[in-house]
Amino acid sequence: MASRQENNTRRIAALDERAEALGLKCGMGIADARAMYPAIEIAEEDCEADRRLLESLADWCDRYTPLVAVEGKDGLFLDISGSAHLFGGEKRLLDEVLSCFLHQGFAVSAGLASTPGAAWAAARFSLSPIREGKEKEALWPLPLAALRLPAETRERVESVGLKRAGMLLATPRAPLARRFGKELLLRIDQFLGIVDEPVSPRLPVSPLSVERRLTEPAMLQSEIEYLAGLLASTLRTELERRGEGARMLRLSLFRVDGVVNRIEIGTSQPLRDPALIRRLFRERLAALEGAIDAGYGFDLVRLSVSATAPFETPQAGLAGENADGEEELAMLADRIRARLGARAVLKPACMESHIPERAALELPYAEAAAGSLTATVRKSGQGGPLPPQRPVRLFGHPEQVDVTAEVPEGPPLRFRWRNVTHRVARSEGPERIAPEWWHAAALERTRDYYRVEDEAGHRYWIYREGFYGAETVHPRWFLQGLFA
């Protein structure tokens, strides 16, 4: 039995069959229930866990249709138009869903109808499937609760003696709308299918997807890889017909006991070749080793394309070998990305900024690949003045150093970095870099950069933070980079 805090009382939120047999009811106070049966076991309601469970059930229902929506706290909508015939008709599909849920230990009631409103009522009031056009007859004997009305509206309708939904149908519409608001009529129309009610699916529907149902569950990684390759070759014809390639692929693995694993890969170039797709999934699976529990095996494998891009067919060389290095490289980048994440392959990009750590930015390869690799090398000395000298290695976070300087605003004489004292033999500077005031970072201070060389010949980039006198009296020093 689960309890829920409601205003100042704790009430029963949910209860099992045995508690129900004792005569307890949802909404009853916990204190009353305890008084009746002191031995009952009560747990706090966990809405978050309930929601997670419902979502995982929705995931599992993905196998019947891609259009699955979560309804309220305890309901699921499955839009089976177009997919029922795959299971041998609507009735058989319904039976299969029910028996699968029953085997998993859920008590489920399902309804089948041509409008979401009617299906909702059919599921709640255990009706037989409502055929299209028969909604009116079905609605006639139902109580008002079948209309998904807010409790307040329902009470008001009931208070005037309209206890059954059918009675509403017999009543003139205009006074109803005037008295009880538009929602009442909207719900009736939605039930009857006069007003179309969209069911928004929980997951975006992929433009393309292929699946394979297995009689014998697949458990091995190699089997999954093989299946991914197989599905990819099915996908290929469709992609070719559209003249597109996949930019984002998702492999959904439906485990026998209802858990769904989704594996996504992204590509930096549109992809069609099944062998390459299979290879990418192999990397991804290798990286996920241990994270995916095959359990009793997967009985449905689906490969869907979630993003596509136009595929340009390159002219192959007559010699057969297509010496396109860029493609090779993109493939490698994709494999690294599939295995180690998007941040594992980066392309540096130079930004227009004076602050050194902002002047270079690392972009994931796939994003940077939009630009071309073939940029012309600008010879230094040409086109404007020579840019200032910069270190070959830059620390992401400048490291504070203890500096001894002759005068507070002068170059350093000696500094201590990572527990070693370095004597400065020569120094160049300062190169003054003022904060970029147009970036709304008022906290930053002016930096005076010095290139210093210690006695052994190591060259460092050190800066003093704060303009001595005006900004600070005790300037701090930082080491930001190493020169060659």
């Binding site: 290095g325 490289l329 690392e362 840019p387 290695r393 020169f483 060659a484």
Partner: protein, 338 residues
């Protein structure tokens, strides 16, 4: 007749054995492509011509390395400590610059390293690339991963690609995963793909890098040396820090000759120049006040530098022809943390 057949069979067996050792097919061994200038044929039938080496442009160093650094091979570059990473990085970029200068394709430069290495030694900084090494930042691909094993995997895969112009793998410390097998694989793939792989070793706090043998034919020890003075129109500028100078020690070499060199990288011409060992830029500038990097303007100084070299080495107390003690492989001597 029977004896002839038996002899031929023996010959075939030997040929297969040779092919197995060389790692190629027996059929390819039959007629190795000998270029007209009679160059050597190395592994896998890749002829060694002038393009088989990265010429540093310093005659004495190239000669010592038997023609230059092997282009299609693994080359180890060691820094003694974390503080030397600036010099090691600069030198690796300089070598990459030499490689890319002679490379017609627009292949990228791969830099692979681990997160902790980049945290300790800083991230290779793209804006310095174009100015000092003439490499467009777009050509750099940076790969940062968490574990050494992942870095080695990426390096192994990238080393296969012919499209890659040069590969720099930065390994921190002395991980067990970087063993002979792994480096041999890298060396093999570098040979097959025909591009250099530079293995940059960074010492971590406790363990010196480079104690285990690797398959790299050449190992260089890198440390910085005091730079010369900045050149201006009116001569050298006193107290300034000029172009970088590297102290390069050959720790391992295919023909067994060690050596030590001071190389200055000219950022404007993107080339190396040799400075005589034991050269003091400050005194030089103050005493004669004429030239600061004599090699740039007077390349004919090279013969005299040989004599200087011998004196300096004797003074260091090292056996003839070997690098002085403090320049030895990082694992052999005590080292200060840092």
């Amino acid at each position: 007749m029977a004896r002839e057949a038996a002899a031929r069979q023996t010959l075939f067996a030997l040929r297969r054995e040779v092919a197995r050792i060389e790692g190629t097919l027996a059929e390819r061994l039959v007629l190795p492509p000998v270029p007209a200038d009679g160059a050597l044929v190395r592994h896998s039938g890749i002829p060694s011509g002038s393009s088989a080496f990265i010429r540093t442009g310093v005659p004495r160093l190239d000669e010592r390395l038997n023609g230059g650094l092997p282009r299609a091979a693994l080359t180890e570059i060691h820094g003694a400590g974390m503080r030397d990473m600036g010099a090691v990085t600069g030198f690796a970029f300089a070598l990459a610059s030499l490689v890319l200068q002679g490379d017609a394709s627009d292949g990228p430069l791969f830099w692979i390293g681990t997160e902790d290495g980049f945290r300790e030694g800083g991230l290779p900084y793209a804006p310095a690339l174009l100015r000092d090494y003439g490499i467009a930042p777009e050509r750099l691909i940076l790969s940062r991963v968490r574990k050494t094993g992942e870095a080695l995997w990426i390096a192994g895969e990238a080393a296969r690609l012919k499209a890659v112009s040069a590969l720099i793998l930065e390994i921190r410390g002395n991980p067990a995963r970087l063993d002979l097998t792994v480096t041999r694989r890298l060396q093999r793939r570098a040979v097959l793909a025909g591009h250099p792989v530079f293995l940059v070793r960074q010492s971590s706090g406790t363990k010196p890098a480079g104690a285990e043998p690797t398959a790299a034919p050449v190992r260089l020890l890198l440390s910085p040396a005091p730079a010369g003075l900045r050149q201006t129109v009116s001569g050298p500028l006193p107290g300034s820090i000029g172009p970088p100078v590297f102290r390069v020690g050959i720790d391992k070499n295919r023909n067994g000759l060690p050596g030590q060199f001071l190389l200055e990288w000219a950022p404007d011409t993107h080339s190396f120049h040799e400075r005589p060992v034991g050269h003091d830029p400050e005194n030089d500038a103050e005493n004669n006040g004429i030239v600061v990097s004599p090699s740039r303007h007077r390349p004919d100084l090279a013969p005299s530098s040989g004599a200087l070299m011998a004196l300096a080495e004797a003074g260091d107390g090292a056996p003839r022809g070997e690098p002085p003690g403090k320049q030895h492989a990082a694992h052999r001597g005590a080292r200060r943390a840092g």
